[in-house]
Amino acid sequence: MKKLHIIGLLIIAIAIGVIFISLNNTSSYADFSKAASSPEDEFHVVGKLDKTQPQIYDPQVNPDEFTFSMTDNKGLTKQVVLHKSKPQDFEKSEQIVLIGKMQSDVFHANDILMKCPSKYNEAQNQVN
């Protein structure tokens, strides 16, 4: 067997390994109820800010804790504790992606991604 063949086989083995491991290890998108069913695992939950519920951010007490409520794509609303400072422009967000774990009915997020409304569609205001 040629040395190059050994290298080729090694590469294939590593490639399969990467795919296999990453399939098992990375978190996935889910809704709140799925996240609640496995509280040890990290999920990405997509949803919208529930503006009727209070938003609590008191940096005097803890600058790394921001509490609000989000409605996931299935329509379920849960309390969220974001373990980070309150993001700028939070109220304007159209869609939220939370990354974290659901424990005892509260979703604890360690990161947040927000989609703000695209101003590209606000052509009307721009022209006037």
């Binding site: 290298i7 600058p63 700028q88």
Partner: protein
């Protein structure tokens, strides 16, 4: 509708621009056809050159027209309206030009034209001229079509940058645009303020020249496959390939520097899909260049040189698709708007994959089989759907046939490579580069995989990339260090080990001496065991790489810089890795807040307390510093938050060190975006950004009735009043006349208290509240120190005690204004930047030397 006659529309210039677009497309197509024919028969060569030149002129024409329109504010054109305005500084006009997608395609097209013309001159009348330029022209046909903006049925081909605002799909139904005099009313939207910096002027052209330059080795490889000339092109393509390595490398690192300086990623590399998709072609082009070196010195590596050169360009196309189709959605901080060209982009990527695979199958029967299968699958998709399955079958067929063709038909070396030979390990290194690029591509493509297979995997976090890259980088460092000491063909193993032993021993000692205190004794970041092992290995091996390459440069090459391009570039690369390792693994969160309970059930990701609350006037300890938030300033749309840093000096007195002003931009297009501010030292950076702040300036509102309840102080001259942000000394009491004079004349007596306020930073302010007696009535006149938000009223004099009474009220915002800030210390990040410069210099030297060799 059609009857409206618009006043002041400059329609002609737009038509001229679009005329150039069509000309560039047609000329590129003619150039492609005629170079294709000239490849067989030289008679058409002159016509082909002419067509390519015409295409080049047309491309320059498009650019000139667009510039004229931008410079003269022709806002009736959508592109001008969208990306510029009258108030904008003219130095950003270039940034406006390539802010939009059409402009960036134009930039890419332009660089291709420049490279194509240079190549045409270099290859004139050689056997490579026609086939290489044929591929160039083909790529230009596709790129030029991205600007066409023509509808065929329901399919839109390209996006025309010369569209009038009222013709554009986003704007055409707006009532204002029905006004015949609308042109005079228009104001452009202007450039996104986030992009108004010098990075936006230099980063895109560099990066696109990098992307563009990958076309050269691709064109050679495809031309070689087409003409079945597998052996000779690598020599000519070699300097071009390393030119690509150089420019694309600089482009990527500029992106990293931009992110570090001006974006709040919290570092120089975030494994963002947009970053990855420029890194991946670079990794592959590096691999391609190294296999070409093997080919040049020893022959062989035919399949890999072709395969890697082609793959690098295909990955550039794939990146374009990833970043411009909107498929990444929530996965990227870079927001590219979808121009509705996703279908077109997919088609282009698939077309070029198809062409490449068809040519790699160097057997007529296989080629025909592949073309037939591809066409059948395509028709089947049209008739029955099942796009994903068809795509999967096609992908598998492409890979399967390529592997088969490689084994069966591709010319290969007969003898096996020696284990102790340079070419063998250089080859292994190239394959490692390819492998890492495949892994990164796979991780980056998770959103695409989700779309294809209906899965719901989340994109991996940066640490996943880091952990995967660690072992590969360790191996690469060893290979880069050791391989140079092997000779081509065969080397005496004993000599080789003897030669390297000393360098390795020094690196190991040095590495352990650094790593044991850094990681094992002082494991502040709670690094896992896996990472501890690999950090130590990577630290040691990257040192080994630096030392071995210096050794090679000084001893073997006798210090000749001209010959040492490769060694210098390798030193630079190893330093980049070392700098990245130290600054990332020993990154210190200075702003750690300690006020919290640990959330042990959630895991370590949630324990990362990284914010600090700074109230105006307070001085708080933060890491080795004392920090004080001084207040905010508004400059245009930027809010600057001034934070002063002190260190405890002798006698525990705080000594002023520096001021950082991280800002938040109130961007009308994107909302509020923080921009960091960094203090650079030789051996570390202090990096800060504001994550939350009160943005309102609150001037008039709080000034009127925003003061807290007054507190009264009774004191003598020399006494001190304590305010929350200053010590106020009663400096002196002055009267405009003596008491006797006042009593005699019965006029106005004004007694002034001179109050000296000293802040914690020893800044001095004065206030002069007055105690006025007029006709026996006391009328106190207040005075304020607005910078500190202090208001004083001098309202009583007690002649018996010789004391005065003064009230102090403080502005509410003294207690209210605050920011939440993150601060990090990046140790030794300069090693990384120095590495970048060294690598660029080394690669530059290597390119120059290779060009010289080519000319002689």
């Amino acid at each position: 509708m059609d009857t409206i006659k618009y006043i002041g529309e400059r329609v002609l210039i737009g038509q001229l621009g679009h005329g150039f677009v069509i000309l560039s497309f047609v000329a590129a197509f003619l150039a492609f056809i005629s170079f294709y024919l000239a490849n067989k028969n030289n008679t058409l060569l002159n016509f082909a050159r002419l067509a390519f030149k015409t295409h080049s002129i047309a491309v320059v024409g498009i650019i000139v027209v667009l510039f004229i329109m931008l410079l003269n504010h022709y806002f009736e054109y959508q592109y001008v309206f969208q990306h510029s305005n009258r108030e904008m500084d003219m130095k950003y006009i270039l940034s406006c030009f390539w802010e939009g997608q059409e402009g960036s395609f134009l930039l890419w097209t332009f660089w291709n034209v420049v490279l194509g013309l240079i190549l045409n001159k270099q290859l004139k009348n050689s056997e490579w001229e026609a086939p290489v330029l044929m591929i160039f022209a083909l790529v230009q046909v596709f790129l030029a079509s991205m600007l066409l903006g023509i509808y065929i049925g329901d399919y839109k081909i390209g996006s025309n940058p010369f569209l009038l605002l009222r013709e554009h799909q986003d704007y055409f139904n707006i009532p204002v645009l029905q006004n015949p005099d609308y042109v005079s009313k228009l104001q452009g939207r202007g450039l996104n303020p986030l992009l108004m910096n010098y990075w936006m002027t230099i980063h895109p052209p560099t990066l696109f020249l990098g992307f563009s330059s990958t076309l050269v080795p691709f064109a050679f490889a495809v031309a070689a496959l087409y003409n079945k000339q597998y052996q000779t092109w690598q020599k000519i393509a070699l300097p071009w390939t390393f030119f690509s390595v150089l420019v694309l490398g600089i482009g990527i690192l500029m992106g990293g520097a931009w992110a570090y300086e001006a974006l709040s990623f919290g570092g120089f590399w975030a494994w963002d899909p947009v970053e990855n998709s420029s890194l991946v072609p670079w990794l592959v082009i590096v691999a391609a260049g190294h296999t070409m070196i093997i080919n040049k010195n020893k022959g062989g590596s035919l399949f890999t040189t072709h395969f890697l050169s082609i793959t690098s360009f295909l990955l550039v196309l794939y990146s374009t698709f990833l970043t411009r189709s909107g498929v990444l959605g929530n996965a990227s901080v870079h927001a590219f708007t979808d121009l509705g060209m996703t279908g077109q982009l997919v088609l282009y990527v698939l077309t070029f994959v198809f062409i490449s695979v068809a040519l790699l199958l160097n057997n007529s029967l296989l080629k025909v089989t592949y073309v037939v299968i591809s066409l059948l699958l395509w028709f089947a998709t049209f008739l029955y759907g099942y796009k994903k399955i068809m795509l999967g079958v096609w992908g598998a067929t492409s890979i399967g046939l390529t592997v088969f063709a490689y084994y069966k038909y591709f010319p290969k070396e007969k003898d096996e490579e020696e284990l102790y030979s340079r070419e063998f390990w250089m080859f292994v290194g190239s394959i490692l580069f390819l492998l890492t690029s495949l892994i990164i591509t796979y991780f980056t493509s998770v959103p695409v995989i989700n779309k294809l297979f209906g899965t719901d995997k989340a994109p991996p976090k940066p640490f996943v990339y880091n952990e995967w890259m660690l072992p590969f980088t360790v191996l690469l460092m060893i290979l880069i260090a050791a391989t140079q000491f092997l000779k081509y063909k065969k080397t005496n193993a004993k000599d080789f080990y003897k030669r390297l032993l000393k360098t390795f021993a020094i690196s190991l000692l040095f590495g352990l001496a650094c790593c044991i205190p850094l990681y094992f004794i002082n494991n502040t970041n709670e690094i896992s065991n896996y990472n501890l092992i690999f950090y130590t290995l990577l630290f040691t091996t990257s040192l080994f790489c630096v030392f071995a390459n210096i050794d090679y440069w000084v001893i073997v090459l006798k210090g000749k810089t001209k010959k040492a391009g490769a060694s210098i570039a390798h030193i630079g690369f190893a330093l980049i890795i070392l700098g990245a390792l130290i600054s990332t693994s020993k990154k210190v969160t200075l702003s750690k807040n300690t006020s919290n309970q640990k959330l042990s059930t959630l895991g370590s990701d949630f324990d990362d307390r990284k914010s600090i609350l700074l109230k105006q006037g307070d001085t708080l300890p933060m890491g080795p510093y004392l920090v004080a938030y001084k207040g905010k300033r508004k400059e245009g749309i930027n809010y600057m938050f001034d934070v002063e840093y002190f260190k405890l000096g002798k006698d525990n007195k705080p000594e002023y060190e520096f001021t950082l002003s991280p800002r938040v931009q109130d961007n009308p297009r994107m909302g509020r975006s923080p921009e960091p501010d960094t203090k650079h030292y030789l051996n570390r950076d202090v990096y800060t950004h504001v994550t939350y702040g009160v943005m309102e300036m609150d001037t008039t509102k709080t000034f009127l009735n925003g003061y807290s309840d007054a507190k009264n102080y009774v004191g003598h001259v020399g006494d001190t009043i304590i305010a929350s942000n200053a010590l106020v000394v009663i400096d002196s009491i002055r009267a405009n006349k003596t008491q006797e004079e006042y009593l005699k004349n019965d006029s106005t007596l004004i007694v002034t208290a001179v109050l000296k306020a000293i802040t914690s930073q020893s800044k001095i302010y004065y206030a002069h509240p007055e105690y006025i007696i007029k006709n026996n009535v006391v009328i106190p006149k207040e005075d304020t120190i607005s910078a500190l938000g202090l208001k004083f009223v001098f309202w009583k004099i007690n002649p018996q005690e010789g004391s005065v009474e003064i009230t102090l009220s403080e502005k509410n915002s003294n207690t209210k204004d605050f920011i939440v800030m993150e601060a990090y210390l990046f140790p030794h990040i300069n090693i990384l930047w120095i590495g970048c410069i060294i690598m660029a210099i080394g690669t530059g030297i290597a390119v120059r030397e290779r060009l010289k060799v080519l000319k002689t």
